[in-house]
C-alpha cells in the first residue's frame, strides 16, 4: 500500500494510539483498491477475511432475507466497517456494496487479531470503537421500535440539519430510495412522509430539503438525546 495513505488511516481513533511498529506491520499487510459504483464488496455469511477502511466514496451496508432487502448503515470516509466480525473471526452479518466510486483499504483480519492480542493500546481503541458502534445500533433500534415512519423522518431531518451546521437547508446525501430503506419504509411511503411534514414547514425540492420552522418541526419530532445524539 502506498505510504501516502498512512496519515489519514493513522488519524482514525482506532489506529491513533497503537505502537508505531504495530501500525506499520498492519499497513504492510494491507492493500488499497479502487472500486466502481455498485460493486458488492462482501456478502452476508462469508468469512471475515479483511477489516475494511473507506478512504473515499461511500459504502452501503445491507442485508437480505426472503427476497426482501434493507439498508442498515452507510459508511463514509474515513472510517472502518465490519470490525466486530473481524475481531470475533465470525461471518459477516451484513453485505456491503459501493454506492459510488470508492477507494478502500483491506487489512487482513488475522493481522488485526494478532496485533489486538499483543498491543494493549490497540485493544483499548477497539473497545471504544465497538462500544460506540453498539450504542449506535441500540439508538437505531429504539428509533425503529418507538417511532412511526413520519416521526423517524422528522428526526432524521433534524439530525442531518444539525450535522450540516444548523441552517434551514438540508441536502440529502443519498438517494431517497436508500433513505427509505435506512428509515425502514418503502420509497412510496417516504414520498408521502415528506408531504406529511409539510404542515410543519418542511419543503422538498428534489434532493434539497428546507426546514422552514425548526421549532415547529421539533415540536412534532420530539428529538431525544438518547436516540438522536450519535456522538454520545
Amino acid at each position: 500500500m502506498p505510504e501516502a495513505h498512512y496519515p489519514e488511516i493513522r488519524a482514525l481513533n482506532l489506529f491513533a494510539e497503537m505502537a508505531e511498529a504495530n501500525f506499520l506491520s498492519l499497513m504492510r499487510g494491507a492493500y488499497v483498491q479502487n472500486f466502481p459504483p455498485q460493486i458488492e464488496l462482501i456478502g452476508e455469511g462469508e468469512p471475515s477475511d479483511f477489516l475494511h477502511v473507506v478512504l473515499s466514496g461511500s459504502v452501503d451496508l445491507f442485508s437480505t432475507w426472503n427476497g426482501r432487502e434493507t439498508s442498515l448503515a452507510t459508511v463514509r470516509p474515513v472510517s472502518t466497517f465490519i470490525l466486530a466480525a473481524t475481531i470475533k473471526n465470525a461471518p459477516y452479518l451484513m453485505s456491503a456494496r459501493t454506492l459510488e466510486k470508492s477507494r478502500i483499504v483491506l487489512i487482513p483480519s488475522q493481522d488485526v487479531r494478532a496485533i489486538f492480542d499483543t498491543d494493549g493500546s490497540f485493544a483499548r481503541a477497539i473497545v471504544t470503537e465497538l462500544a460506540q458502534c453498539y450504542r449506535s445500533v441500540i439508538k437505531a433500534q429504539k428509533d425503529l421500535k418507538l417511532r412511526t415512519s413520519l416521526e423517524r423522518l422528522a428526526n432524521y431531518l433534524l439530525r442531518q440539519q444539525k450535522r450540516a451546521g444548523g441552517g434551514p437547508v438540508v441536502e440529502l446525501d443519498f438517494e431517497k430510495r436508500r433513505l427509505a430503506s435506512v428509515l425502514g419504509m418503502t420509497p412510496e411511503n417516504l414520498s408521502r412522509a415528506f408531504k406529511g411534514l409539510q404542515p410543519y414547514g418542511v419543503t422538498v425540492e428534489g434532493t434539497r430539503i428546507v426546514i422552514g420552522d425548526q421549532a415547529d418541526l421539533e415540536r412534532f419530532a420530539r428529538p431525544n438525546p438518547w436516540i438522536d445524539d450519535h456522538s454520545t
Copy 2:
C-alpha cells in the same frame, strides 16, 4: 461482597482470564444487593456508575419515548449488562427493572475502567463481549426490519425450541405482554399472531406452546443463521 459469589462471577467469560489480583480488586469494591420485583434499577440518561451482574432472577432492559415503551432485552443469570455505557463512561441508553426477585452485583464503573486500562486480558475479554453484544443487536435489527410480526414470532418460537433442547413443547419464560414488546408488537397482536400460526401446527395453552410440526413451521418461518443463531 461475600466471597461465596466470587466463583460464579469469575466463571463469566468477561472475568475468567483477568489477573487474580485485578479480579479481587474489582470484587472488593463491589457489593451485592437483593431487589424485589418491578424495581427500576437504572434509568435512561443517568450516568453509568455501576456495571451490573445478574446472579439470580431476571432484568428487563427497556426504553421509553413520547409515552411509548419497548423492551429491548431480558437479562438472565449469570450475565452482565450496560457494559458499553460503563466503558465509554456515557449515560445509559436503556432503563432496567427487575422482573422478579433478583440478586445483583454492582461493580463501580470507575474500577472497571481503571482495570480495563491496565489489564490486557480484561480488555480483550471486554472486546469479545462487546462484539458479541453488537452482533446480537444487528441480528435483532434485521429481524425487525426484514420480517413481519408473524414471521418474527415464528422464528422466536423456533429459537426458543432450539434453546430448550429441540422438543415440541416450548415454555414461554416471561409474560406475553413482555414478549409482545420484545417482538415489537402489541399484546393484542401477539394473541392474533399465535392464532395465525395455528395453520402451521402451533398450539397455545397459556404459557405452554406446542410446535406440532417443526418442518412445517420452518417452511413458513425460514429461519436464517445470520439472524437467528445467537451463538455466532
